[in-house]
């Protein structure tokens, strides 16, 4: 139960951060991605702000195996720079550049009642579902 309350508070903080920073506004995001146009560097500062707080937190948990709520620390184990990482990143980047939405902001904008954000989010969930269907088939074919 405690972990759910923390997750709710973290999600709320995350969403408020996206709104305050301007990340929830595709026009602002595309202004950042448009290097050759009238460039708006704001989103670089979003990243710097997030890492300024995030980095010490990740240093704190180094070498630990349990969280403050005694949950197991589940950090990514893969260090591979492989084809899925590159191709997935390319596909994601193209989609991000087309609409100005990445996953978090699409959910915030949906919560703000934006119909177009809902359409994007439903398509995004479909894309994730297609990935999963493919991944399951691959596993089945290998076993």
């Amino acid at each position: 139960m405690k972990s759910r309350i923390i997750a709710l508070m973290a999600g709320l903080t995350f969403g408020l951060g996206l709104m305050l920073s301007g990340m929830a506004n595709p026009e602002k995001v595309l202004g950042f991605l448009d290097l050759a146009g009238a460039w708006d560097p704001s989103l670089a500062l979003v990243m710097i702000g997030a890492i300024t707080v995030g980095l010490p937190a990740f240093q704190l948990v180094k070498g630990r195996s349990r969280s403050l709520l005694k949950e197991p620390l589940q950090l990514p184990t893969s260090a591979d720079i492989d084809r899925p990482l590159i191709i997935g990143g390319l596909l994601f980047g193209v989609g991000w550049g087309l609409a100005g939405f990445c996953p978090g902001p699409a959910i915030v904008a949906t919560g703000a009642g934006q119909e177009k954000a809902l359409v994007f989010t439903l398509a995004m969930l479909t894309g994730m579902g297609i990935f999963q269907f493919g991944a399951r088939k691959t596993v089945a074919a290998q076993s």
Binding site: I5, A7, M9, L12, T13, F14, G17, L18, M19, M23, L30, L35, A36, A38, W39, D40, P41, S42, L45, V46, M47, G49, A50, T52, V53, P56, A57, F58, V61, S67, L73, Q74, P76, A79, I81, P84, L85, I86, G89, L90, L91, F92, G93, V94, W96, L98, G100, F101, C102, G104, A106, V108, A112, K116, V119, F120, L125, G127, M128, Q132
Partner: protein
Amino acid sequence: MTIDWTAFTPTTAFAGGALIGLASALLLLFNGRIAGISGIIGGLLERGTGIGWRLAFIAGILIAPLSWQLFSALPPIKIDAGYSTLIVAGLLVGFGTRYGSGCTSGHGVCGLSRLSLRSLVATLVFMGAGFATVYVLRHLLAA
């Protein structure tokens, strides 16, 4: 490159980023989990473990605009993309983030905060693809 100083919002961008970092730190320190939005949603679609905290986190993001409205008017959200573009973009973002194991939050914020080379490469790839896509759309095709 010309910088659009009128659109540049360094203070709110940094402060919003810090909130995003704080949210990631909360989820990490208390729950031992990475605040990667695509991974959190992916885990829901897989119907695996941790459905409760995942739903709570997404619910937190969804209610962020409502909570914001208790104190202030919503910030602007301007979505220029048409419906067909939004659908294509959503499919690409959904599939790409799962195939590449992360998005702006998981690879960008959390990955860079824990100094992961794999996440740095992923972030450079999707940002590069985003820059390239906007360049093609706004400066090659529109010209």
